[in-house]
Each structure stands twice: as C-alpha cells, then as structure tokens.
Amino acid sequence: MIKYIVRRLVLLVPILFGLSLLVFVYVRSLPGGPEIALLGERATEQSSEAIRKDLGLDQPLPVQYGRYLKNLASGNFGSSIITRQPVMDELKQRFPATVELGITAILIALILGIPLGFLAAKRYQGFLDHASLGASLIGISFPIFFLALILKWIFAVKLGWLPSFGRIDATIDLPHPTNFYLLDAIIDTNWKAFVDVLKHLILPAIALATIPLAIIARITRAAVLEVTNEDYVRTARAKGLDPSVVDRRHVMKNAMLPVVTVIGLQTGLILTGAVLTETVFAWPGVGSWMLNAIRNADYAVLQGGILFFALITIFSSLLVDISYAFLNPRIRYQ
C-alpha cells in the first residue's frame, strides 16, 4: 500500500513540472506581457524597462524559469497589482471559502446521490428509476450559472428565505482563525454565526451539487445493477443472509468502486462550477477572485489561481486513486 502511494507520488513529479512550465509559458504569452499587466495603461518605455529588470524579465528564459520555480517552491506567487497584497496571503483567505463550498456540495451530492442511485437500481425499470434518470439528465443539461440564478431568484429574492450573497451576515462578528467559517463558528462556539454561515452556504452549495448529484446517482445505479447480477451476490443470497446484509456488504462494497472513481472526476466539475456559482452568489472564493483577475489583467493573481486549481485537481485524483486502492484489494496487493 505504502509502495503504491510512493509510486503514485513519484509519477506526479513530471506532471507538476510540465504544469509549472505550461503556466510559465502561458502567463508570458498573455497579450501585453506582464509589464503591461503590472503597469496597466500607464506603461511608458522607461517604466517598462525598469519593471522588466525588476522582474528579471531581461534575463534569458531558462534563468527566468529557474527563478520562477524557486519562487513557487517558497510559496512566493508575486503580488496583486490591484490590492498590492501578496497573492499567497489572499489565496490563504480565499481558498478555504472555495473548499468549504466545494466540500459541502460534494457531501450533498454523495448523501443524496448514492441512496437515490441505489433505490433506482432496486426499482429497475420502475417509476422511481425512470423519474430519477430523467431528472438527472435534465440536471446535467442545466448551465450551472442559470440554475444558480434561478435558485437565487426564487429562494433569496422572491421568497426571501435565504441570503443571496456572501458567506456571512456583515453584522455578525466572528474571528477567523481558519477561514473555514463553519469551523470558525464551532471554535468560537457561536451558534448564531454557525446557522447564519450555513444559511449562506445552502443555495450556492445546492447549485454546485446538482450536476455531481445527477452524475453520482447515475453511476451508482449502473454499478448496483451490474453488481447485483454478479455470481458472488447469488452466493451471498444462497448463504441465507438478510437482504439488507447482502446489499450492504456484498453489493454496495463492490458498487462503490466505480463511484469513487467518478467522485474524483467531480473535482474538476466542482472547481469549474465554483467559478460560476461564486460569481452568481458573490462568494469570496478563488473562482470569483480569478475572474476579477482576468477582467483586471491581474496576471500574478491569475497565475496563482490557475496553479491552485490545477494542484487541487491533481491531488484529488491522487486521493481518489489511493482510496480506490484501499477499497479494491486487487490493486492494494499488487
């Protein structure tokens, strides 16, 4: 098992290098180049020259790449041209917001999607099966920002049940040691704040969860249908085990394997969705931050955001491979 994890980690090295190179080339290929980006419209011949020297852009490219790698390794992502803050500092505040939203969405998708898929498979070709298949297909066909807009319009604007933007009511005073607001509220044992944070989370998390929910339900259904016809399930039934034990121990344990793989693929979807959902709900996370960076040509922030998203995707796929190996003895014992 440990050998397997180490091997996976070693395989990551070339990908990370390729990734850093790609981002390096990418940021340098953006229209105008970094100096224009940093100086904006006010760039003059001399100031450009000074900036270029300052940033080391007059050095040969390999030297620049080396410096850039060194900076990345030490967590130095440069500074935002708008706020003048180091990108890393801002990232530390914004990334918990995106992660909190993303994890809530994934949890909603799992908690609803797995039982729904399971029930649909049990009622194969029945009403629930057809209804959930149809609903999931419709769910997949919704652009996430459109869904978010509709949710916001109905539940925040029209009905006024839930707040329509932000992470917490401005009148609530809550210290932020972790920047995961739910955690912060628990640490502070401030239950009023906890409920308020939860209320702010509900709409964006539901919008973000819809597509992964549909996907997880579909995959669970397909996996349960397939596993139910396996010989070892017949063996389990022949043993006289209770149906609930057969389902739990024999069907679900095997059906979870493809589901775990698919959960891994969701990370990308969640991050993509986060960019759009955060925009709709003015959620102060990495997604909306990056979009602002694009509008403002704030390339240091953009670079930081891209790297952050890519790293999250890579590491969550690593995590999925490891948990897959954990669930599947055939891989674990290779």
Partner: protein
C-alpha cells in the same frame, strides 16, 4: 419420509418477447445421505431447478407450480425470512465458477464467518477458529494464515475448496453442487470431486450434483436423473443408467463421452441438432426432432415417466432403446476420463 421431495416443479422465465418454460413439472425424492446426479445439456433447466428450490431465482424467473418439501415443509410456501434460515444452513449450494462466485473485496475469512455468525450464532473469534478448521478440512494448507487473504490470491481449485468450505460450514443436510468442476482443470476436477465425496459421506449429507458430464456423476452419485428441455427423461441407479440406458438422449450422452480405453476406430458421436427452444411447448416428446427412434406417437403425444426393466428405472419414451443398440463398453469402472 424422504428428506427432500419435489413434486411437479414448474419454472417460467418471462422476457419482453416470450415466456421460457425452463422447468416443466419435474419431481423426485431424496433420502438423507443419498446422492443424486442431475445430468443434461446446458440450458436444459437443471441449474434453474436448484435455484428455484432455494428461492433465489433471477428476477425474470418465477415458480409457477409444484411443491418442494424439505423435512416435511414446503419451501415454496415459506415466507422469505423463514426460507433464509434454511438456506445456507440446512441446504447449501456450490456454484460453477469459483472465479466469480466469491466476493472480490471481502477476505475469505469474512465470507466464511458471515455464514457461521448468521446461522450458528457464533461470535467473531469462535467463527474465525471454526473457519480455519473448515479450510483445513477441505485441504487448504496453512489455513489459519489464509483467512485474511482475498479471493484473487487463490487459484481456481483452491477457490472451489473455499466455496465447499463455505457450503458445509453449518453441516447442511443437503448440499447442491451446480457444475462444481466444470470451470477447473481436469486434474483439479478429480480432487474436488474427491473432497465432495468424502465430506458428504463423513457428515451424512445428501448431495445433488448437477452436471453436463456423465463422467462426473459416475463415481459420485447413487442415482442419476437425465434432464432434457426442462423435464426428466430418464432416472435410474447410476450403474443401471450406464449399462442399460433406455432413453435415446441418455444413450446419446453416453456416446459423446470421450474415453481413454475406447478402441481407436470408435468415434465420438455428437447428438445431432440443437437443444429445444423452450419458448413454445408443442405436444409430443421434446427430443423427437433430434431422435433416431422417434415414432409418430413421439411427435403427437408427450411421454410420461414409467418404469422399465425394474422398479427403480424410469424412462419417458414411447420407443425406448432396445438392448441390441446398447454398446457393451459403458460400465462404471472408469468414471470420467480423469
């Protein structure tokens, strides 16, 4: 009173297009400790009969008639919860393919102990010890060390031993083995049959051995039923069936078994034609279209089982094979080609 008494068992499968008459009113008795072979081509309904008796038919299948009395109780009338207390405990089953019949994500130990915990109320530690002893009995070396292993770490023959260990774990009164050796190498087949034979004898278990291979029943079963198109066409003590096959289909099966002692010039004779399509059941003998002995009556009227030669030999045929057509060479001395 017989241990198991099956009467007029009938199983149908409904597909979108048609209804398949998989098992058509079969019946037999089985005493405790007795061993019975059920022989027939694939698709003739032998496995389905077994699954129906245990109440674990696939979704499309359903029992449409008959009774399965086990120890005086009709299993087909039992609520599922009661049936589950018998399944795995008093009646256990071994399946054809040991590669797919064990759960790949559970350890062998867990798959053994779950039956013990369910039926014998053992706690975890006791069940584990018992599981190790069971593995030992079916001939798995270093049994205690292997409880934590997963199925993929065992060979095919070893997996089938594990399946047997699972099946006998609650000392069932009846063991049903469905093609237990078909998926295995020839040398392993003989070993597995040996294990089955010894265990059933030691524990005084009744055995139903389902197979397409007459060689397999020859050495193991006291009686043999030959099944064709969802019906028994001949039933006799195994020795008699081999020496005096009366149904043309039985004769055909015997002629198609390869033998090492057969003279070179003798050729294997396959049975001509294809198994019956079970979606329609016209009157007449199901085997008639493939039968050399078929008469006009065979094609018009369905034959029922009736005694022939002696009280324990029954055949469903209007025109049974005459003595003159029975080759000499079929005897019990050389079971199978192993």
């Amino acid at each position: 009173m017989a241990l198991l008494s099956v009467r007029d068992l009938e199983v149908r499968f409904s597909t979108r297009k048609a209804t398949v008459h998989a098992v058509n009113q079969i019946g037999f008795d089985l005493e405790s400790g007795e061993s019975l072979g059920i022989v027939g081509e694939s698709g003739c309904g032998k496995s389905v009969s077994a699954l129906a008796m245990l109440g674990i038919l696939p979704k499309a299948g359903r029992v449409t008639g008959g009774s399965v009395e086990f120890g005086g109780v009709d299993l087909l009338k039992l609520p599922d919860q009661k049936l589950r207390q018998i399944r795995g405990k008093d009646i256990a089953m071994i399946f054809q393919d040991p590669m797919t019949s064990l759960n790949p994500v559970l350890t062998i130990g867990r798959q053994l102990t779950e039956t013990l915990e369910k039926h014998l109320d053992m706690d975890k530690d006791v069940a584990k010890k018992e599981a190790a002893e069971l593995l030992e009995r079916v001939g798995i070396p270093r049994a205690a060390d292997r409880l934590g292993d997963y199925p993929h770490q065992f060979s095919g023959g070893m997996r089938q031993r594990v399946m047997i260990a699972m099946a006998i774990s609650c000392k069932p009164k009846l063991l049903i083995a469905d093609e237990p050796t078909t998926a295995l190498d020839v040398t392993i087949q003989a070993q597995i049959l040996e294990v089955l034979k010894n265990l059933t004898a030691e524990e005084h278990m009744a055995l139903i051995l389902i197979t397409h291979d007459l060689g397999v029943v020859a050495g193991v079963c006291e009686r043999t039923n030959v099944m064709y198109a969802g019906k028994f066409v001949e039933t006799a003590p195994t020795a008699k069936l081999f020496s005096k096959p009366r149904h043309p289909y039985t004769l055909g099966l015997l002629k198609s078994v390869p033998r090492l002692d057969a003279a070179r010039k003798e050729r294997l004779e396959p049975i001509a034609g294809l198994p019956r399509d079970l979606r329609t059941l016209p009157p007449g003998c199901s085997f008639a279209p493939r039968c050399l002995y078929a008469t006009d009556r065979s094609r018009a009227e369905t034959p029922e089982l009736h005694t022939i030669d002696s009280d324990d030999h029954l055949v469903a045929c209007w025109n049974p094979v005459p003595d003159a057509d029975i080759p000499e060479r079929h005897s019990l001395e050389d079971p199978g080609a192993s």
